[in-house]
């Protein structure tokens, strides 16, 4: 007899985080305790705990903004109370795989903006890099602080129907979600204190501290306590909550472009008592908008003159300028080669097989097999502008066909992976929903990864898209100590 909340639970042939490939009455060992605890819940209790959590998020304004949505642009990021659990041994591999990747991506960026050996050695075709809309030729030859381009990376991991982990993409520009990772943990500790205590879960609370150390490491003025700030596009940005959250946790100022001013190749913030020099900017503004004199001249979010101060080495930026070329989805396809080339190692975490539409052979295959592929634009994020072939209409496929044919460089395709699922509270009780995992990798003096990351869950039945802007929610992620 299965406990009440799992009475009607089905794994439906997917890999289930709680049950693996097995039967839904026999949880994997590391889930046993949570399974038992859930089994003791009364139905009323579940609802109550859920609404407790929801109202706490809403009251505290833990929200994000949805664009193009007329009613109520602020929403809470739906939170699911059943934690995702990763056993120690599994995490060890992920951790090593991510470190390896972070190293390789940084070596790659340093290389292509310096000697571009990986291009001249023919490992990656030169035109792939030069045609990337995120390649910044202004950065060629620039001596970046500590040789590190990406200080904060959010790589998205998924598991297929055998439970194997894959890296789906690396977000190397301004990845968001760390604040939810921290807030989710706070809520879980309040909602299920005993379960949490009984499981020896590794802590994540040092993230803001590690982030601040990572930023301070870049400061051009090592002789004094560096002045670091978080640069936000402003209150209308969907991740604004996160920006203030992190600033507050680090105890540093959150600034908008208009709070900063560049004078004689230094950057200052305006205060009620005059100008204060800024050393490190954790910018959550894309390259294009950082400096209207250098990039998009219509940007009102940036600081005119910032780039000159940066290129002079008088102020540091995290992440560096030009990291977008590393999270271009065409470049992504070459990360395994990078790992071999720079580190002489085999990749610990695999890529999802990727078809590059600019390659004629690949394009032909893609155009003939649209229905069984996921088509993604090479330079978008947030789940915008993609098409899942299996659930697309004839009309959509025709549109994508046209787009791919006219701009092959801008599209990639991947097989549709049946993402692993996780038991999730839904309207009619607990059901399986697809999940991914976004760990946050910091690169300061050393590489640091807080155990786990943000588990995102596609709340719509059968949906494979976990992005918050597309109806996704999140879960707390528990990495076990042993």
């Amino acid at each position: 007899m299965r406990p009440f909340p799992f009475e009607n639970y089905l794994t439906e042939g997917f890999f289930d985080e709680m049950f693996g490939k097995g039967h839904p009455h026999k949880p994997l060992k590391h889930y046993q305790e949570v399974y038992n605890r859930l089994g003791r819940l009364e139905s009323g209790e579940i609802l109550e705990k859920r609404s407790q959590a929801d109202s706490s998020f809403l009251e505290h304004g833990v929200t994000f903004t949805v664009y193009g949505d007329e009613e109520g642009t602020e929403k809470i990021f739906p939170f699911d109370l059943i934690p995702r659990i990763i056993p120690h041994s599994e995490w060890t591999v992920i951790d090593q795989g991510l470190r390896q990747r972070m190293l390789a991506l940084n070596l790659f960026l340093h290389d292509i903006y310096q000697d571009a050996k990986i291009l001249s050695d023919g490992i990656i075709p030169t035109e792939v890099i030069q045609s990337s809309s995120n390649f910044r030729k202004e950065m060629v030859g620039f001596d970046i602080p500590k040789d590190i381009f990406i200080q904060v990376c959010g790589s998205d991991l998924i598991r297929d129907d055998s439970g194997t982990y894959f890296v789906l993409e690396d977000n190397a520009r301004c990845p968001s979600g760390a604040s939810y990772l921290l807030e989710n943990r706070e809520i879980m500790k309040k909602t299920f204190p005993q379960t949490f205590q009984g499981m020896s879960v590794r802590s994540v609370e040092e993230y803001p501290e590690l982030l601040l150390k990572t930023l301070e490491n870049l400061s051009p003025r090592q002789s004094q306590k560096p002045v670091c700030v978080v640069l936000t596009p402003g209150v209308y940005n969907s991740a604004y909550f996160e920006h203030t959250f992190l600033a507050r946790q680090m105890g540093i100022e959150i600034v908008e472009g208009r709070d900063l001013i560049a004078i004689d190749e230094f950057v200052y913030m305006r205060t009620t008592h005059g100008l204060v020099q800024v050393d490190v900017i954790y910018r959550r503004v894309d390259d294009d908008f950082l400096d209207p004199l250098f990039f998009n001249k219509d940007s009102m979010l940036g600081v005119p003159g910032l780039m000159n101060a940066y290129l002079r080495g008088n102020v540091a930026l995290a992440n560096g300028i030009g990291t977008g070329v590393a999270d271009d989805k065409v470049t992504y396809a070459y990360v395994p080669e990078m790992i071999k080339y720079y580190l002489d190692q085999e990749p610990i975490l695999s890529n999802v097989p990727t078809f590059l539409c600019w390659r004629e052979k690949d394009r032909k295959y893609v155009l003939e097999n649209l229905k069984s592929l996921v088509i993604k634009p090479a330079n978008e994020s947030g789940g915008y502008g993609m098409m899942v072939g299996s659930s697309s209409s004839e009309k959509e496929r025709q549109e994508f066909k046209d787009r791919i044919s006219s701009n092959p460089r801008d599209y990639i395709a991947q097989p549709i992976i049946s993402l692993s699922r996780h038991p999730t509270f839904c309207e009619d009780g607990i059901e399986g929903r697809h999940v991914d995992l976004r760990p946050f990798i910091l690169y300061g003096k050393d590489i640091e990864i807080v155990p786990g990351g943000l588990t995102r869950v596609a709340l719509k039945k059968n949906s494979l898209i976990v992005n918050s802007s597309q109806g996704g929610g999140s879960k707390d992620t528990w990495v076990l100590k042993n």
Binding site: V235, N237, T244, V285, L301
Partner: protein
């Protein structure tokens, strides 16, 4: 502190105070109408209030027939209570790191009260309940500001906002009396006092002798009633000097000089002189000076010239696209 942060704190506080003051106004005017206003057309009854709030044109454009509903919920009038709460929260969002959780939650809940439609429901069921809800919120908010954040520079900007707004609102309420057109009735006078929460304080001071002259004297010149103009102006003067560190009596910027001279005016003018000059005229002059003080504070602590432009649509669009 960051100049913009000072500005946000100041405006957050002004909008909360404004919402409270409007809620009081609506509450008292509705009450007055119940007692005396039967014969009077609603439009006529509210016209002095709307004109003191500079809201007549907006009201006409809005299409609502009831002025009280307009003051509470109008989308098109930037000072409706709904909009005040919205702007207070927008400002607070930009400086959440400066506020205690309690302050944020209180303000955010009031915002959600409007967003969810509960506000309109409450108003339909019990208008006085509604006003009480807003007034109570403002009082709790002020209490939390005093009890849960450092009394540092940021707190002084919050306090500046509160007292500048309060002085402005008190002057407008007084002005409704001068705008009635005839000698205000007993009900009007009591209404004005109640709108400033000043009725019992006034009675204590004047032992029930009710006249326009006494009411004006009280609301303008009372030394120790916290909603009088003089009280507010003295506070503004002292916060400005605490912020700059320059002793009172001297000045280091235009805001300080102007508030000093305004303080001298309310300290050394008597009610007779003022009534001779004309109540409306005198109030108007005070209001103009206070508006200028606000402007000078902004120029002294916040501005470099190109910041004056408000956030345009273009900027809002750009802020939206910056995220992965």
């Amino acid at each position: 502190m960051l100049s913009r942060v000072a500005d946000n704190l100041y405006w957050m506080s002004r909008y909360v105070e404004r919402a409270e003051s409007l809620a009081r106004l609506v509450e008292v005017r509705r009450d007055t109408r119940l007692e005396t206003g039967f014969g009077i057309q609603s439009k006529k009854f509210w016209s002095s209030s709307l004109s003191a709030l500079y809201a007549e044109e907006f009201f006409q454009a809005d299409g609502r027939t009831e002025a009280d509903e307009f003051i509470l919920f109008a989308e098109n009038w930037p000072n409706s209570i709904r909009n005040c709460i919205y702007f207070a929260r927008e400002n607070a969002r930009m400086v959440r790191d400066q506020l205690s959780d309690e302050i944020w939650v209180e303000l955010n809940n009031t915002y959600l009260f409007f967003q969810s439609g509960d506000a309109k429901k409450t108003f339909k069921q019990s208008p006085s309940h509604f006003s009480q809800r807003i007034i109570r919120f403002s009082l709790v908010f002020q209490g939390l500001v005093d009890a849960t954040v450092h009394h540092d520079e940021g707190w002084r900007f919050i306090s500046l906002g509160k007292y500048l707004e309060r002085a402005d609102q008190t002057s407008r309420i007084l002005d409704t009396l001068s705008l009635i057109g005839s000698e205000p009735s007993r009900t009007d006078l009591i209404g004005a006092l109640r709108t400033c929460s000043a009725l019992s304080a006034y009675r204590k001071r004047f032992r029930g002798e009710l006249s326009l002259r006494n009411v004006a004297e009280f609301l303008l010149f009372s030394q120790d009633f916290p909603r009088s103009m003089r009280f507010a102006i003295r506070r503004i003067d002292s916060y400005l000097h605490e912020i700059s560190g320059v002793p009172s009596g001297n000045f280091s910027n235009e805001a300080e000089r102007l508030i000093g001279s305004t303080l001298a005016t309310v300290n050394f003018t008597d009610i007779a002189t003022l009534m001779d000059k004309g109540l409306h005229q005198s109030i108007d002059e005070l209001q103009t000076k206070l508006i200028e003080v606000g402007q000078r504070i902004f120029e002294t602590y916040v501005l470099l010239p190109f910041e004056i432009e408000s956030v345009s649509q273009k900027m809002a669009e750009q802020t939206q696209a910056q995220q992965q």
